[in-house]
């Protein structure tokens, strides 16, 4: 499907390639982004305003470089093209080099420390499979929805509802068995954590190089490397500003909870949403929630970058079966990411970058799931 989407996107983007048409929406959107920064800062404070800017940066980089976790894994599985995975490792390494010393020196900051649970194994595996069918992970779905990709716009509401539902049932899943979170920074210290994790990433990168194909990569030029470095820097800034790493799906679940609550459904007695801290979040504005603000910024930043490149709102033609499969996969993405204590961002990128062992477990299980997901794509007639 990605290939079909890419080609149809390129065809659909052709009318935007004329500079005057492309410049006007980009300038208007950039002005809107500045106004939104001023409004958020005025309404809820500097911290949220800064997080909006960080979110914008995520969206611009992801969209401008077509930086996809899902595609990076898939092109390795199908074509042995390692550049996408290498770029992910670079982003994680940059974030790690800044975040681990910060976490070691500032105990008031939190890593992405998820428990080592049965739900993590199942959730990450299902997420890895579903992200290949939906052709987008947490960040991928958000940035493509932001730039107006019709499939991701359809997947996003399902993702939101799935995240809400997954969080609501998370306590029941945890009762299947769970070990406490393990953070390497706390166990080994900053130096050993950096050494161990950078060595692990280097070994993986070397293995990818060993088994690489000689065919041209999907990503041309240095843009994807700059995007990876930029994402790593922004993730470290996220930690310093919010006190917690970059995450995505908590915010989506919160949006779902607010919508469900607004529809008159009582979730006060739910084992997750009924907790005092969650009730406080549900009754506060979403603009007060760190993850929601960066998610909104990511959505808007992606639109700005895509409109600047003339790639906003691609035209897509898919059979109904593929639309339905993508939306069902979106529901699974949301649900499974809450079981797995994060998606490719909250668990894989931020988990590993902040020394959480659950990030590595998530990576292994989700990659195994992606092997299945790529096969499912082929069964559904979706292109690579």
């Amino acid at each position: 499907m990605a290939g079909a989407l890419t080609s149809s996107a390129a065809r659909g983007a052709a009318p935007f390639l004329a500079a005057p048409r492309r410049g006007v929406p980009c300038a208007a959107l950039s002005t809107g982004a500045v106004l939104a920064f001023a409004a958020i800062t005025w309404l809820v404070g500097w911290r949220q305003g800064l997080l909006w800017l960080i979110g914008l940066g995520y969206g611009v980089l992801l969209s401008a470089a077509a930086f996809g976790f899902t595609t990076g894994w898939r092109v390795w599985i199908t074509r042995r093209d390692p550049k996408g995975l290498w770029a992910q490792f670079v982003g994680i390494a940059v974030a790690m080099l800044l975040s681990v010393p910060l976490l070691a020196a500032h105990p008031e900051l939190d890593g992405a420390d998820g428990p080592l649970s049965i739900s993590l194994l199942i959730g990450a595996f299902v997420f890895g499979a579903a992200m290949q069918v939906a052709d987008g992970c947490g960040s991928g779905t958000l940035y493509k929805a932001g730039l107006g990709h019709p499939v991701s716009l359809a997947v996003l509401p399902a993702f939101v509802f799935g995240s809400f539902l997954g969080a609501a049932q998370l306590p029941a899943w945890l009762s299947l068995g769970s070990l406490p979170p393990v953070n390497l920074v706390q166990r080994l210290g900053a130096g050993c954590t950096l050494l161990l994790q950078l060595a692990a990433l280097a070994v993986l990168a070397a293995l990818l190089w060993r088994w690489r194909s000689t065919a041209p990569s999907r990503w041309n030029g240095a843009t994807v490397w700059w995007a990876a470095i930029g994402l790593g820097l922004l993730a470290a800034a996220n930690l310093a500003v919010a006190g917690q790493p970059w995450g995505i799906v908590y915010g989506l679940g919160l949006w779902g909870g607010k919508i469900v609550q607004a529809l008159g459904i009582d979730i006060q007695h739910n084992a997750f949403w009924g907790q005092p801290v969650q009730q406080a979040q549900l009754h506060a504005s979403v603009l007060a929630d760190n993850t929601s603000v960066t998610d909104l910024g990511l959505l808007f930043g992606a639109l700005i970058a895509a409109s600047a490149k003339g790639k906003a709102c691609p035209a897509v033609r898919l059979p109904l079966r593929q639309w339905l499969a993508a939306v069902a996969a979106g529901l699974l993405l949301g649900y499974s990411s809450r079981l797995a204590f994060g998606c490719n961002v909250g668990a894989y990128f931020s988990g590993i970058a902040t020394g959480s062992v659950h990030g590595w477990v998530w990576f292994g299980c989700a990659f195994a799931g992606s092997l299945l997901g790529v096969r499912l794509r082929h069964r559904l007639g979706m292109a690579d």
Binding site: F16, R47, E108, L109, A112, S285
Partner: protein, 58 residues
Amino acid sequence: MRRRWTGVLVFWAAVLALLWADWHGSTPHDRFAEPPPLALGHGPAADAGHCSLAPSSR
């Protein structure tokens, strides 16, 4: 071109409408209890949620 932008315009109109409704339906924001601009040195907000957090960890 216009038809293609319709989807994204509807999406952002819905986002803005939901944000407006959410702001007016939520507990009024206490401007005197805003956290400092950086969590560095101060810590995250007491009710900050994250996808990696176990349900009872905060």
